[in-house]
């Protein structure tokens, strides 16, 4: 470890960034796999079923009590699912537009993973900040990258060259663009209050002045609902509504390419959950305890901060999953009505009111 100190700053920066990217990538991928498991378990409990409880690797017999318990919780199910996706036949229909058909799954996954780069998932470990890129315009970066995610779905529909995927991708484009506007406008009051676009600054502001969810409840509600629409989750999953469109934009996909769409959806959920924690729930901070509210002074505190962030994120993931199995799907005109005629005017009014309050009372 001593050798690190002899490297020049640039080499250190590259080393630590690579390390952080690797760890975050690994954690997100694992989280995606287990989010699928949680989804299956929660849906099972909601519908009074048991859920996955059979997958058992050979070494499980050597663990007396814990082994069967892990099997019943379905801990090994994600590994089996992943293996299944890899080993299934990857079928490409003859009528597809090959280049776009191949590109689309990749374009869906990449933006979802890139979003995580600016999110501060902890204060610091040692002298190293727990964020991959502490951008000055972090939040705009996130919105920019998220807005690129729609290409994956558009190209999947176009590349598949058949009816249902195309209808699904058209729905998705309109839906994602509409809710992006509402989502983008809902966070403007936060900039007005914090006077910064940097996510670390926004967390610092919340540590000092209380969480944003209490100051901007309307913004939070709009952001939360818009993120359901952005991730194509129920009650907004019209792009893939199976009762009308078979499977929507991913009807023609199989095997690993289908898995990539799946992965993209869950990675998007994780990114939205992380954004909501950062913007509205104070990121890695917890109020009333100074040690948890200020940047960490020891390694243990740094790890606790990361734990706090993940706990908050897990809460939102559970909300995403819970809502999906409780609510029916919207009709398409209801979806558009909600986006354009309810949320956008509400978000605009919220901006005006916040700006007025700041202008009148802050001087």
């Amino acid at each position: 470890m001593e050798a690190i100190n002899y490297l020049n700053p640039t080499a250190q920066m590259i080393l630590f960034s690579a390390l952080k990217i690797g760890v975050v990538f690994g954690v997100v991928m694992t989280a995606v796999a287990y989010a699928v498991l949680v989804e299956r378990k929660v849906s099972a409990w909601i519908q009074n079923r048991v859920g996955p409880n059979r997958t058992a690797p050979f070494f499980i017999n050597y663990l007396p009590v814990i082994g069967p318990l892990l099997v019943r919780l379905g801990i090994f199910q994600p590994a089996a699912d992943g293996l299944k996706f890899l080993l299934k036949e990857d079928f490409t229909p003859s009528y597809v537009r090959k280049v776009y058909f191949w590109l689309a799954p990749a374009i869906t996954v990449i933006p979802a993973l890139l979003t995580v780069a600016v999110i501060p998932f902890g204060s610091n470990l040692g002298s190293e900040k727990m964020v991959i890129a502490d951008l000055n315009v972090g939040i705009l970066y996130t919105f920019g990258i998220v807005s690129l995610g729609v290409y994956g779905i558009v190209l999947a529909g176009y590349g598949s060259n058949s009816k249902y995927p195309f209808l699904g991708s058209i729905r998705s484009t309109a839906q994602m663009i509409s809710y992006e506007i509402a989502m983008g406008m809902s966070v403007i009051p936060i900039f007005i209050l914090t006077e910064s676009l940097n996510l670390s600054d926004i967390i610092r502001y919340q540590a000092e002045n209380g969480w944003m969810i209490f100051k901007q409840p309307l913004a939070f509600v709009i952001f939360l609902i818009a993120s359901f629409a952005e991730t194509n989750r129920l009650p907004f999953d019209l792009p893939e509504s199976e009762s009308e469109l078979v499977g929507g934009y991913h009807t023609e996909y199989s095997s690993m390419k289908f898995a990539l769409f799946f992965l993209g959806e869950y990675a998007n959920m994780i990114a939205s959950a992380a954004m909501m924690v950062t913007l509205f729930l104070g990121g890695w901070t917890l109020p009333f305890i100074d040690a948890l509210n200020l940047p960490a002074s020891s390694l243990l505190l740094g790890l606790i901060h990361i734990g706090v962030f993940f706990a908050k994120m897990a809460f939102f993931m559970i909300v995403f999953i819970w809502v999906r199995w409780m609510l029916p799907r919207f009709r398409y005109d209801q979806l558009m009505d909600l986006g354009w005629r309810r949320f956008i005017p509400l978000a605009l009014a919220n901006i005006v009111v916040t700006a007025l309050v700041v202008a009148l009372f802050n001087n």
């Binding site: 315009v137 705009l140 920019g144 807005s147 290409y151 992006e180």
Partner: protein, 170 residues
């Protein structure tokens, strides 16, 4: 590290020109969707150039507005129209003339602004406050009139677009 940034600049500038060329004249494909996708790549490379200039706000907005919103709608329209090859080959003389004229006008404006620009090193050092804040101040203090004119222009275009889609006007 000046060499590194130079390398990135030439790579990005080259890619911008290449993708721009492929948008207009692609030897491999005449599909308008492919052209639109190359235009998206051009825009992304231009955002990269903004990042090299430390204009992070412009880079983010470039991606957010052009690549993320405008181009998606373009793509959407192109896919829905699904033009046949013979319709695409048809040239309208007036359209070509007007297109050429506006291209020349834009090129002239660009060249003029490049010639008139004073290099940054001669005007000011680094900005003390955040770069986004400085941009906001410039727009809302010294350039408020052109900014507002542009806003009204955008509003007019928006109202116009909505009016066109309305079938029966009351």
């Amino acid at each position: 590290m000046p060499q590194f940034t130079d390398l990135f600049f030439y790579a990005l500038a080259g890619l911008t020109l290449l993708f721009g060329f492929l948008t207009v004249l692609n030897p491999l494909s005449r599909s308008p969707v492919t052209s639109a996708m190359f235009l998206v790549l051009t825009i992304l490379c231009m955002a990269g150039l903004f990042v090299l200039l430390h204009a992070f706000f412009l880079a983010a907005v470039q991606i957010l507005v052009y690549a993320g919103a405008v181009m998606v709608v373009f793509l959407f329209v192109i896919m829905l129209l699904d033009l046949k090859a013979d319709q695409r080959r048809h040239f309208n003389k007036i359209a070509v003339g007007l297109g050429g004229l506006s291209t020349l006008a834009i090129a002239g404006t660009l060249v003029a602004s490049i010639v008139k620009t004073i290099p940054v090193s001669q005007t000011a050092g680094r900005l003390a406050e955040g770069e986004t804040k400085a941009l906001g101040r410039l727009l809302f203090e010294s350039h408020i009139l052109p900014f507002e004119i542009l806003s009204v222009l955008l509003l007019v275009a928006m109202v116009g677009a909505i009016l066109i889609t309305k079938k029966d006007l009351r």
